[in-house]
Symmetry: C2
Subunit: 223 residues, 2 copies
Amino acid sequence: MNEFRILEIKQSVFEDNDRAADCLREELRAKGVFLLNLMSSPGAGKTTTLRGTIERMKQSFAIGVMEADIDSDVDAKAIQETGVKVIQLHTGGMCHLDAGMTRQGLEGLGMEGVELAILENVGNLVCPAEFDTGAIKNVMILSVPEGDDKPLKYPLMFSICDVILVNKIDVLPYFDFDLDAVRARVAKLNPNAKVIPISARTGEGLDEWVAWLREAINDWKRS
Amino acid sequence: MNEFRILEIKQSVFEDNDRAADCLREELRAKGVFLLNLMSSPGAGKTTTLRGTIERMKQSFAIGVMEADIDSDVDAKAIQETGVKVIQLHTGGMCHLDAGMTRQGLEGLGMEGVELAILENVGNLVCPAEFDTGAIKNVMILSVPEGDDKPLKYPLMFSICDVILVNKIDVLPYFDFDLDAVRARVAKLNPNAKVIPISARTGEGLDEWVAWLREAINDWKRS
């Protein structure tokens, strides 16, 4: 099985994160690496969604995954089973990744031969929304058990994402969750965002999400 | 109906938060106000748990609630319906409350006549764990849909809490969640923490939690 290592990320030295993020995007463009930043609350299903995404895309794209956590390596182990390149990033207690930290992660992962790099950010709806990682696209997961009021409480996160995946729709019957209300609240904050209901567990909706991601990568390559 | 107001919290002026927290605790002691700090991920059920707690305790304790959020007032509205004193705190994008911010909240709420003040912290498993609010006790909620691996990924939060409420146990049959694994992981991080399974929706387990809280308040008064 492919091995993975654990990288202890250091605090960034860049004072201007927006500039560092733009520089990283230029470098990724030059190297042909599409970087996706995946965010959510703890336990919304980032890793399971990633596994389903990888299974559907690994035949056509060389994928590399960065699993950022404060501690543990359970997520990198779960991704390792898919056979793609993976690295576990430890943030040393930090609640988000900025562009400098993402660059350390990409260097640790090794960008050579990678076409699609995915950063699974720290589980947190607040701080990661404030820091541009240098990603080409930002995606978040809102899971049904968290409730439909989250766009009201964490507006910045919903404002900066290109796609909002509404996960765990297989348990919709057991929760009070109004998908139309979420769509309306997201539309108000971020009219261009796409909302895609999925169940990472059953696979429902993942084809639509993967189709969106394929098109985003191809559009970026052509642009 | 009791009115509530929305207070825009300012960044703290105290450089030494631990000292500010100790000072706040002394002041609370002098005033006889027991401060509880309630933390969790977004959507783990803090507000619903609080409502169940208030319904069981408001006959015997004068309760005041501070609802901290980045935006919206949905939580303060939900607490308002219980008839207790409540204030909505807006953190201006900040991901946690420290002791200075908690003090602003308590002053906005008005401590006079309050025996039990409850701070519903920002939904976040990372940053709130790093800042002592001045609370007498810290409690967190882990909800079943988030998964049993959370103590591995967010060890600090599980280390600093006196009680871990495992919420949404009514949906245990629909999720892969090992309660014994959570107990073992918490015991390793924090042997003195009490783990109480609850369902804020059905009320299961809330009596045990409320009994613990009553005893904690009475112990504190006697000490």
